[in-house]
């Protein structure tokens, strides 16, 4: 009945004329896709629900989805059995450190490539783009040798420094800076502003969306990285959540499943909160960084 009152909109794309609120097929379609979505989210659901199950239920047969009795004992256990508070701090230190340094260094270099018209800038840009194609796994051994010669194994310096600038970030920000109108900064230059001032007061404030996008991308990638912290930290107290949890699980793991899921839930939580706060930007950022 509402269909009569609502203004007729031209059916967009391949929507048929059946596209109306009362279309029962539409809700069947919705319901079946909802079931598919829930099924695909089963691993996430199992992490959340198992984290609150007591040990007896975690190992019970037949297994159940929901806990009968909700408990926080797994969370208590993970903090007492592992230096878990320390691992969380390390993850923030590592992922946060890489993000901050890389944003600063990448944006400086991107500014030079976008605005300071110097000899060889094109060649430098091409070299930087070419280096995008090098997988870090392939150069891990010499990087490790260098880090260990510097005495940086098991330090934040060793974890962060090799990633304190990255070719992708420079390229991504350079593309964004180039798209900003030159008139903005030229006006400031005529008023006698230095390049540093133009960069800080004009380019950076206008590039907040790009910086946020790159920041999210860097933080998520480093927070979730496993191989990097495995290689650069041998001391358990310097591991990240991702590497720390891994060392105690897997085949022959020594911590119970429920405790592991509590750890996994905590490992995902900061990213999940970030995701909930800025869903749209988050998805767009990952899509655009993937595409460029």
């Amino acid at each position: 009945m509402t269909a009569l009152v609502r203004p007729r909109v031209l059916p967009s794309s391949h929507a048929s004329s059946r596209r109306r609120r009362g279309d029962p097929m539409r809700w069947v379609f919705f319901a079946s896709f909802l079931v598919v979505t829930f099924a695909l989210m089963l691993p996430v659901t199992i992490i959340v629900l198992t984290a609150f199950k007591p040990a007896s239920e975690v190992n019970a047969f037949p297994p159940t989805l929901f806990p009968h009795q909700w408990t926080l004992s797994n969370f208590e256990a993970i903090f007492s059995e592992l230096p878990f508070g320390r691992l969380i701090l390390n993850s923030f230190g590592f992922a946060g450190g890489v993000t901050v340094f890389a944003l600063v260094f990448d944006s400086l270099a991107a500014y030079a490539l976008a605005r300071l018209d110097f000899r060889g800038s094109r060649i430098l840009l091409i070299v930087i783009i070419a280096s995008l194609m090098i997988p870090f796994q392939a150069t891990l051994i010499p990087i490790y040798q260098l880090v260990s010669q510097l005495g940086w194994v098991n330090t934040f310096a060793g974890l962060i420094a090799p990633r304190a600038a990255d070719a992708f970030g420079i390229f991504f920000l350079r593309q964004f800076f180039v798209s900003l109108p030159r008139d903005l900064d030229n006006a400031a230059r005529i008023d006698g502003a230095s390049e540093w001032r133009v960069f800080r007061s004009i380019i950076l404030p206008n590039a907040v969306p790009a910086l946020l996008t790159l920041g999210i991308f860097l933080f998520v990638n480093n927070w979730n990285d496993l191989l990097w912290p495995l290689v650069f930290t041998t001391d358990q107290n310097m591991g990240t959540i991702t590497s720390g949890l891994t060392l105690l699980t897997g085949p022959g793991g020594i911590i119970p499943q429920g405790v592991m899921m509590a750890g996994a839930l905590i490992a995902v939580l900061p990213l999940a909160i970030m995701f909930l706060l800025v869903q749209r930007r988050f998805i767009e950022s990952v899509a655009s960084t993937g595409l460029k």
Binding site: T139, L146, F275
Partner: protein, 317 residues
Amino acid sequence: MTTQNLARPRRYRPPAQLGGRTPLNGTFKRRATIVGFLAPALIILGAFVAWPMISALQLSFTDASGFGTPEFVGLDNYVRVFTDSEILQSMGNTALYAVLFTPTAIVVALVLALVINSPRLPFRGFFRSTLFLPFIVSLAVAAFAWSYLLDPQIGLLNYWLQAVGIRIGNVLQDPALAMPTVVAVAVWKSFGFYMVIFLAGLQEIPTSLYEAAQLDGANGWKRFTNVTFPMLSNTMAFVVIVALIAALQAFDQIYVLTGGGPYRSTETIVMQIYQSGFKDLDLGFASALSYVLLIVTLLLSLVQFLFFGRRSKDINS
């Protein structure tokens, strides 16, 4: 002559007071500014990207082991890479992983993107966000969840499958099923990412094409094969290459779930680099293997680069 010059896109040359380079303007101060902006990033990239590339190449021709002086061994390491049956097996495993992962991830992502893109679906934003969620879960954590779901004794998924008559046993200990399982975990973690890229591609297809197809009496499937699929070819090529490169670097969930087993059936190239380089300290050999990975990745990236030519066009902007 003149028309040619006019047709060529002119590069922006700022006048001197706007920082343009003139003979009088190449002052020390200006150079110092340029160096100041570039130096931090270039020092990092030089030390941790450029130098390691050269160093890895050097190492790959030696018997470096972390102890004593490395000796030059010529192509020995490379010969071993291509003759050692275990290494050949890990290359085969990586290829199998790529062959299983790429089409599965793409089909899942594309189907979900098509459903979400349909205007008939209510709450599309909700589905997009929810289905993207696995992407923020690390592969290691995804692996924990899957190992618990698939546990032969207490795994919920295993139990449900048994209830409908499917016995999968202990998949992670089964040489035939371990590889499909680690692939499934990777597909689960990454389909949201490819789905979002496909959605962006789908939204760029002009609706007039669908309207024209509909007027011609094309049904849903015909519209997909004759409009959607061809119009999506660029996005598809991009996703295929990105997925292939990701597959070459498979490590995290394999390290957590199987450690390369059972019977080396999930041992991939990066697992082998980690084992040779950081466990066996066979640095020369691991470097040779790394270089093989590097070259295969570069070749794939080159295909992407040539196919799109997008980045090179962007440089001229």
